[in-house]
Subunit: 299 residues, 2 copies
DNA sequence: ACGGATCTGCGCACTCATGCACAGTTGTCG
DNA sequence: CGACAACTGTGCATGAGTGCGCAGATCCGT
């Protein structure tokens, strides 16, 4: 740009992203440009503002006092741009384009990928992006358009939340395992092998339930994924806490109370997007799929 | 830009400016780029948003329904950027750079331009931009850093306001005119020639005072500038309502009550800028200048 | 202590967005 | 009715901004 008056709004975006990621390269990755460019934009912004925004600390960029006093406003702008973009997408009346649906890996792999297939034929121009894994993608930041969540009802004010069913959890083991380790009762865990969780699964409701209810069993394996736990149980490693549907689907035997406990499942969408045709189409398809699969829900 | 994710913030700026100015060329002028560029940026934004933002109406760009529903957020972003920039300028501790001081033409020409000269020597790196004329430059939008205002006390919440004096207005005429048209008393306007106002001066407090108080005199000339009125009176056209100082400086004779009425003069600055050294320097210089010139203030 | 991974920052080659000139249109004023 | 001014949009030449490769620095884990 030659002689443009006022400051470059794009540079503020770079500022916000670098402040969040901490490095030029990571910021570049997020934005879709080379790290070098990010460095140059930041330099330009600092020159324009006549203030040093970051300390170059060798391992990345750290906000200076000046930068810190501005980052809050920059984040507000970032949120404002996202809001505007979301609003704008409401004016696209066609059922076409991309919709991002976030869900747990389990839900995505074992249920949605198959049950949402009718969408493909009903709306050929609709591109469904099924993002799974990252537990809590932020709908406010539009990391996803819709999300399937389990547990407590989401309470964010500007979200539209619909309960689509409940998921039953239970303890499962293979016939082979149970032959070698007869199940003697719900409080008799001594001598039993357990498949536990690690990573963030340990902090989940499933992980906590295991901690609270199973005492005395030996943890022979730790996994960070319910499906891996299911496969391990099927392989005879031991007892796993699984969505009932996952357990039954693998021919496992349930032990103890049925269900051990239950979770609610919620479909969540930002209110600005709820009325957008293509988002609505996915929303309805998920509702329909869960209605068909009711009683067989999983996390 | 190659394959950048997310939308270009700069384009939102173009959107806001085009919506305000109504044409590509005017928007380009304001931003400092060619009109063609603005057109291309808008086209890119519309493509990215998959929504038509403007109707091309032949005479300029008019917001569509979609554009209208977004413009408010874009303006909010625009304000946010301005706020951020203002905050950022507070981190520049040097008394250097540019400060924009807004004032009426009269004040600028007859008073500030001369009386603020000491600033030049006290702070060699300070560049004073004296913008006069446009009656109400918006401090919130940072069209100016400081402003001298007359009349009612500005009440905007985030402004720092200091009264720097009062301005006395009076009726003046040249000796030559008065010889031909002897002044017979304050209510005897028949046969007198009056210099009136047009344009937005007519709506000002001075214009209204003339309407309310002088009846029966013949308006022989209309001007949109107090200084022009002063020069006209000096040339013998007739009676003019002038800041007393302007009248006396030209050797005119005052008639009627002295003063005819008075106005307060306020120095106004945004609170974020009040503590910025270079702005503070100008602020203090204006205070000092008005203190020196007290009793001789003008609009 | 050492190799590997990750980061910043510089130089160079390239490409794409920009400015400019011009044509076509519309609105305005005398 | 004609001259003029202002605006949009197209084609083309140009240069500013970009990506890439590489060097140097720093950190981490073995």
């Amino acid at each position: 740009m030659h002689d443009v008056k006022g400051l470059a709004w794009d540079d503020l975006r770079y500022f916000a992203v670098v402040a969040r990621t901490g490095t030029l390269t990571a910021a570049g990755r997020e934005i879709g440009v080379a790290g070098t460019t990010v460095g140059r934009r930041i330099a330009a912004l600092e020159k324009r503002l006549r203030a040093r925004l970051f300390d170059r600390t060798g391992d990345g960029f750290a906000l200076t006092a000046a930068g810190g006093s501005l980052i809050e406003q920059a984040r507000a702008l970032e949120q404002g741009v996202i809001d505007l973009e979301r609003r704008a997408s409401g004016h696209d009346a066609r059922i076409a384009g991309t919709v991002r649906l976030a869900a747990s890996d389990t839900f995505a792999i074992e249920f949605l990928a198959r049950e949402l297939a009718p969408l493909r034929h009903a709306h050929p121009d609709l591109e469904l992006e099924l993002v799974s894994g990252q537990s809590s993608l932020n709908l406010m930041k539009r990391e996803a358009d819709l999300a399937l969540r389990t547990g407590a009802k989401p309470t964010q004010p500007s979200l539209v939340v619909k309960r689509v069913g409940g998921v039953a959890l239970g303890l499962f083991a293979s016939a082979a395992y149970l032959k070698k380790h007869p199940f003697r009762g719900y409080e008799m865990w001594k001598g039993q092998d357990l498949i536990g969780f690690d990573g963030e699964m340990q902090q989940s409701s499933a992980g906590k339930w295991l901690d609270d209810n199973i005492r005395g069993a030996r943890v022979v394996m730790r996994v960070n994924h319910l499906i891996v736990a299911g496969e391990a149980a099927a392989g005879g490693w031991g007892i796993a806490l699984l969505p009932s549907w996952v357990g039954r689907r693998r021919g496992l035997h349930q032990i103890g109370p049925d269900p051990a406990y239950t979770n609610d499942v919620w479909l969540v969408v930002h209110e600005d997007l709820a009325r957008v045709p293509r988002v609505r189409a996915v929303f309805d398809a998920v509702i329909a799929a869960t209605r068909r699969g009711l009683g067989t829900l999983l996390i």
